[in-house]
């Protein structure tokens, strides 16, 4: 069990190290990435199976005594997230390979380090270790964001790094306060610690720091600026992983340290509602596919943290169902936008149009996840949103439930705006020319050998390769329909996870090694 629990940590890291050492062999790097990510999906699946009936497994790193060791704990919630994020990362990496975005010796090693940080954040039950795993993830993301250094990337990178460093400092400060007050940062010993006002303030500082990383309004300003500047595959990768880790940490913190204390419910509901509204309204003024999608990410975080305010079995189950399908849906939307950009060379709505005729597969690959994002039946997004809104009304939280409904309409409008701009009507000049398929004009300038390492040849966009670009988003689109029709599967998977969060006693016992 110890090997299985630590595998999501050491396997991707080992892959990253081997990929780093095999930097002269581009195809070896690709194979390692595919292999470790597929294996991570499988490990996640095994963990999901092992956590049936609310079972929780724990291991103490290094075999140190309980309380000194860093515990790695897998409950159903963590297992589900590992599986889903590994899948999202796999799709993004396949897409990066197809469009040649991984033509940098450090791309595959960095992806390995990034997912190492993500998986370890899901598994660790020590708040200081959570800080470390966050940093592992973020440092890899700093480099991935600025890998293709242009002026815009550097500026976006500066905003991203400064915001996250500030948040990390606050995180560390909160940890110090919490340790000073309670004397431990081990989640096993922190249950209901927030009953003490001093500890509640300390944990609040940590929660705010995590709120920056999850991009809750009013701490969201960095996300729409930074994400659109990365390469399309990297944006998809970040969208599936980074903010979700923040959301996960908020769930864990609220479940354990705050013990679901209802006095914070109103605050959480207000933050969730405002995040939904501000994000969706911010998207209105944007004229670029990925910029619109980035603002919707902020809006969706509101839906993701809404269950914290509800904190009922129905609400949290709905939230987890929504989170799981949303990770895939958002990644697929960014991949579809990336495909459009790769093919036509632009993502601006004004220059696009009529792509349904030239590239129907891309159009469908965008449409299905877009409907899921807006929550239109019969997609999985509808199931998640319907459950979430019903749980809000059942809990007599009418205002926030109403906001969730209204924001869904705005989301649908936004998606229709992209649909009309990019796919509907007569093909525009950019769409007919498909200038992007002639290859990246920047590539010709780049040296053939960097630091003595031969660079892979530029990607030639053959017709099969262009068609293949649409496959990852199309696959997710079909999956959202299937999961929407067979929604019971997701609910069955998510319910034990929700129960484990509402009553963390099994989790706590596992952490304490009993």
């Amino acid at each position: 069990m110890s090997g299985l629990l630590t595998a999501p940590f050491w396997l991707p890291l080992l892959g990253a190290v081997v990929a780093l050492l095999a930097r002269r062999h581009y195809h070896v790097q690709q194979a390692i990435s595919l292999l470790t990510l597929s294996a991570s999906v499988a490990i996640g699946g095994v963990l999901v199976a092992e956590t049936a009936d609310g079972a929780v497994h724990a291991t103490q790193i290094g075999g140190w005594p309980v309380g000194i060791a860093i515990p790695f704990v897998a409950d159903r919630f963590a297992a589900l997230l590992i599986t889903t994020t590994a899948l999202a990362a796999l799709l993004a990496v396949v897409f990066a390979m197809l469009r040649g975005e991984d033509h940098h010796v450090q791309f595959h090693p960095l992806v390995g380090v990034l997912v190492t940080g993500v998986f370890a954040s899901f598994l660790t039950a020590d708040l200081f270790n959570l800080f470390v795993t966050f940093e592992v993830m973020l440092i890899a993301s700093y480099v991935l964001l600025t890998l293709r250094a242009g002026r815009a990337q550097e500026r976006a990178g500066a905003i991203y790094i400064m915001t996250n460093l500030l948040a990390s400092t606050a995180f560390l400060l909160g940890l110090a306060l919490l340790y000073g007050r309670v004397g431990t940062v081990n989640l096993g010993e922190l249950h209901a610690a927030a009953a003490d006002p001093g500890a509640a303030v300390a944990a609040g500082v940590i929660a705010i720091a995590i709120g920056v990383k999850a991009s809750l309004v009013p701490l969201h300003g960095w996300l729409p600026r930074a994400y659109v500047c990365a390469g399309p595959a990297v944006t998809a990768l970040f969208s599936g992983l980074l903010t979700k880790v923040g959301v996960y940490a908020l769930f864990r913190l609220y479940s354990v340290v705050y013990a679901g204390e209802p006095r914070w419910s109103l605050l959480l509901l207000v933050v969730a509602g405002i995040t939904m509204l501000v994000g969706v309204l911010g998207a209105v003024g944007k004229g670029d596919m990925r910029a619109i999608l980035a603002f919707h990410m902020v809006s969706q975080v509101g839906y993701l943290v809404l269950p914290l305010g509800l904190w009922s079995l129905a609400g949290v189950t709905a939230g987890i169902v929504y989170l799981l399908q949303y990770i895939a849906v958002k990644g697929a939307l960014f991949l579809a936008a990336g495909t459009v950009e790769t093919v036509t060379g632009t993502g601006r709505l004004a220059e696009l149009g009529g792509m349904l005729r030239t590239r129907p597969a891309v159009a469908i690959g965008f449409l299905l996840p877009a409907l899921a994002l807006a929550g239109v039946p019969p997609t999985s997004g509808f199931v998640g949103k319907f459950m979430l809104i019903r749980a809000s009304f059942e809990g007599a939280h009418y205002v926030v439930g109403g906001v969730a409904v209204v924001v869904s309409f705005f989301t649908l409008m936004s998606m229709m705006k992209i649909w009309n701009g990019v796919f509907w009507g007569e093909p525009s000049a950019a769409v007919s020319a498909e200038a992007g398929t002639e290859g990246d004009p920047d590539r010709a300038r780049l040296p053939r050998v960097v630091d003595g390492i031969p660079q892979p040849p530029p990607v030639v966009f053959t017709p099969p390769r262009v068609r293949a670009l649409a496959l990852p988003s199309l696959a997710v689109g079909v999956a959202t329909i299937l999961l929407g029709l067979g929604a019971q599967l997701l609910v069955t998977l998510a319910e034990p996870a929700a129960a484990g969060l509402l009553d963390p006693s099994a989790y706590l016992e596992a952490v304490r090694g009993r």
Partner: protein, 149 residues
């Protein structure tokens, strides 16, 4: 690069081996006393910086040993394999223990991990010097000759 200094060059030739020895000493005593892979690596990193100051970035860039990726990659690999060895032998990732060497000397197994950390830290310093060193050099080329030099 800064003006060529005979004093610095001669001094570094004597100092560098000494600093390297101290760094290794810090690495070895790290388990039970002040020191360890990180601090040892930083001391060895100071040797790299000294080399850069005294002989210029060509000394670093031309070196076969002082290269970023091999150092960091090997270091990480050693640290990880140590963790996996603990998993295989003791059932817990990163598990440690004492190993008695033939001479009766007791050594903590985590020394292996520390060696990995040492290499990573040296690698990072090399990476910094290589990247920032390039920039300083290229800027220097565009500067006009100083009258008083």
């Amino acid at each position: 690069m800064m003006p060529d200094s005979l004093i610095l060059r001669t001094g570094s030739r004597a100092l560098a081996p000494l600093m390297l020895l101290v760094s290794l000493y810090l690495l070895l005593r790290g388990h039970d006393a002040v020191g360890g892979g990180f601090i040892g690596g930083l001391t060895a990193g100071a040797v790299v910086v000294l080399l850069y100051f005294s002989r210029g970035s060509k000394r670093i860039v031309g070196s076969r040993v002082l290269r970023f990726t091999p150092l960091v990659g090997t270091g990480l690999l050693i640290a990880l394999l140590y963790g996996l060895a603990g998993l295989l032998l003791d059932g817990a990732f990163l598990a440690g223990g004492k190993v008695t060497l033939p001479g009766g000397l007791e050594v903590a197994a985590s020394l292996v991990f520390d060696v990995g950390v040492y290499l990573v830290v040296v690698g990072l310093v090399v990476g910094i010097v290589r990247h920032m060193g390039y920039a300083a050099e290229s800027q220097e080329v565009t500067l006009p000759e100083r009258e008083d030099a």
